[in-house]
């Protein structure tokens, strides 16, 4: 399991290693699961009530399937920890946060000041996403 460098939750982190999606099907008691880019996030939906940690792996930062997986899980009501692991870089943090990630475990630790600047960068957002931020169009029309 990858230790989170940044975490935006108050609950106790899950200590168990995330099992693969395949293994998860056979281990009904696992509380943590790890999603690879080709895995289907919707396969987890019947179980999200009891999952406490989903790690979504980015083997290379340019493979953006994990963004969709994260949103799909949040849209379905998943409230446990959603942790981005792997090739997680400063300049992708905002997008990940918007898609519902609330923990980040970069393979190579990030400069904390650069990361903070990235999290704080954009004062507004144009879209509804999984982070509850109010899009500009909603502010324009009260």
């Amino acid at each position: 399991m990858a230790e989170a460098q940044f975490r935006f939750r108050d609950d106790e982190p899950v200590g168990d290693p995330g099992v693969t999606v395949d293994a998860f099907g056979d281990q009904s008691n696992a509380a943590a699961v790890r999603l690879e880019p080709g895995d289907e996030a919707r396969d987890l939906l019947p179980h999200i009530a009891r999952i406490r940690l989903i790690e979504i792996n980015f083997p290379v930062y340019g493979d953006g399937r994990g963004y969709t997986a994260a949103r799909v899980l949040r849209e379905a009501g998943y409230t446990g920890e959603l942790r981005a692991v792997g090739d997680v870089l400063v300049d992708q943090l905002t997008f990940m946060r918007r898609c519902g990630f609330d923990a980040f475990a970069p393979e190579v630790p990030l400069d904390p000041a650069d990361a903070q600047a990235a999290f704080d960068r954009y004062p507004e957002v144009y879209q509804t996403a999984a982070d509850g931020r109010i899009p500009i169009w909603a502010k324009r029309h009260g």
Partner: protein, 542 residues
């Protein structure tokens, strides 16, 4: 025209500072080139053959006079006094310094412009009809929809690392002047039998190495759901588009491999889900944007007569101007294709002149066309002669719109690191060779790409030319019969390629065959479609 409010301005300003920070981290070594490359690309900054190149977005091709003026100033201040207008209605600068790029973005932000998402595997600038708001045949002005797409797609958190780049176009007339069906998503605003406006979605078109014409996947998406529908189209693509091979990663391959029916089924299922997610801006937002694209106060009671006594002017009017929806007005195209010139290039002085003329004669508005020309969309007919005189004096009065001299050409191997052969010299030679005959030949859209990526739209040219590398020397393939628009078709290769002089000869031979074979009223494309490839092959290789 759309005006930024404080929200829009804040987003662009934040982007400038973000990029300034990224450039700083690259220069001081915190970012490797591999890490920096996607970040600079998402701000339109490439490393090309001779220097960095900056591609600036011209959303749906619309510019104000002040914006065009600023583009000219940037060319002088940061580049070598010129810019290149592209087939995606944007502008590129060829000689940019990395450490000055953030300052350029800051200068652009002052006139409500940016370079956001002009490259990278994300949703690019949306293109549109260059006559939007002026065309007599549109059901509505398509630009408000394109602006709504611009905002939705800007920094989209889920779709910034797609399998490949993603290009959208929005039009609102049956005459497609934006090559809509050759985009990843093409949207045509249509009116239903009940009188309601909605969006017809065409998905999976494109040029490149596997050209495809986008199939219609939904004939009518209601206006208050179309952003959600686009989100569904993108989500299916982001999840299932191929990532194992960059040459098979565009959405056209996914739609082709799944089949239109299965792709559509998946989109509809995702759409049904996303309708519950409150993604769609309210119609009030569309109305807010539409209000900014209201007609600019056309005067009424103007005469529709033109004094055609100057034959050069009359020729320019006949070639370069099109009917306007308002009586007494006309839409005029400024050709950036002087005989022997570089297609799409404009000097800083020319840009500032066009800006001034737009302010004086066209309600402060200009358009960039995908054919790399500039349009002044709303010119009073009784002021057209004065406008033409000013253009002609500056070398901008070439009367060749849609003629063989109006060649689309990518920058090619003179500038582009992806190119296999030069495009511009071929365009120059063909333009010079056929200049004397171009009026006689009539409409003939000739398009040149310097590599298979097809930035020069060669598949869609009545005559297309594709530059290839044959054992280290430049070689050119000839294609015939391509066409964009309502009757989109893809060009077919004639046969073995030619060297630089040979391709000029070949184009001339094809036009000679056309001239000797055409029936009354036939354009080159019509003759080709009637007689087929065989006689052309015979003329070229026989």
């Amino acid at each position: 025209m759309y005006k930024y409010d404080t929200y829009d301005q804040a987003m662009v300003d934040a982007r400038v500072e973000e990029f300034r920070d990224q450039v700083r981290r690259r220069i001081d070594g915190h970012l490797t080139e591999d890490q920096f490359k996607p970040l600079r690309l998402m701000n339109g900054l490439y490393l090309q053959l001779h220097a960095y190149m900056l591609r600036v977005a011209v959303p749906y091709g619309t510019l104000s006079g002040a914006q065009m003026h600023a583009l000219g100033d940037i060319a002088d201040k940061y580049d070598r006094g010129y810019g290149h207008f592209t087939t995606r209605q944007n502008i590129q600068y060829n000689w940019i310094k990395l450490d000055e790029a953030p300052d350029i973005l800051a200068d652009l932000a002052k006139v409500e412009m940016h370079a956001i998402q002009t490259s990278g595997n994300c949703i690019r600038n949306t293109s549109s009809d260059q006559y939007a708001g002026a065309a007599a045949d549109e059901v509505t002005d398509p630009r408000p929809y394109a602006e709504l797409i611009r905002q939705w797609s800007t920094f989209h958190p889920e779709f910034s690392y797609l399998p490949r780049k993603f290009k959208m176009a929005v039009i609102a007339s049956d005459t497609d002047r934006a090559a809509m069906r050759l985009h990843d998503i093409g949207i045509q605003i249509v009116r239903s039998d009940a009188g309601e406006l909605g969006c017809a979605f065409y998905v999976g078109g494109g040029m490149g190495r596997t050209p495809m014409i986008a199939p219609l996947i939904n004939p009518f998406v209601p206006l208050d759901q179309f952003i959600t529908y686009a989100e569904a189209c993108l989500r299916v693509y982001n999840r299932h588009g191929r990532r194992d091979n960059k040459y098979k990663a565009r959405i056209k391959i996914l739609v082709h491999e799944l089949g239109k029916e299965e792709y559509t089924r998946q989109v509809e299922a995702e759409f049904a889900h996303l309708l519950t997610q409150n993604i769609e801006p309210p119609l009030a937002e569309l109305e807010r944007i539409k209000a900014q694209f209201a007609d600019p106060g056309f005067e009424t009671g103007l005469s529709d007569q033109l004094d055609r006594s100057d034959p050069d002017f009359a020729l320019w009017v006949d070639n370069n101007c099109v009917t306007h929806k308002a009586p007494g007005y006309i839409a005029a195209t400024i050709s950036l294709k002087p005989i022997g010139g570089i297609p799409g290039d404009a000097s800083a002085d020319q840009m500032r002149l066009m800006a001034r003329l737009a302010t004086q004669y066209s309600f402060d508005e200009l358009r960039v066309t995908h054919a790399q020309n500039i349009v002044l969309p709303h010119v009073r007919k009784d002021q057209l002669y004065a406008l033409w005189q000013a253009l002609d004096e500056a070398g901008l009065g070439t009367a060749n719109l849609d003629l063989v001299g109006d060649i689309i050409a990518c920058p090619g191997l003179d500038y582009c690191s992806l190119a296999n052969a030069r495009s511009i010299p071929v365009a120059q030679k063909i333009g010079q060779r056929l200049a004397a005959k171009e009026q006689q030949i009539g409409e003939l859209k000739l398009k040149i790409s310097g590599c298979i990526n097809a930035c020069g739209h060669h598949h869609a040219g009545h005559i297309g030319i594709l530059g290839v590398d044959r054992k280290g020397t430049e070689n050119y393939q000839l294609l015939l019969g391509g066409c964009e628009g309502a009757d989109t078709s893809l060009g077919q290769i004639t046969g073995p390629g030619f060297d630089e002089d040979g391709i000029v000869d070949a184009v001339e031979k094809a036009t000679e065959l056309y001239l000797s074979t055409r029936a009354e009223g036939e354009r080159f494309l019509d003759t080709y479609r009637r007689i087929g490839m065989a006689p052309f092959k015979e003329a070229l290789y026989g």
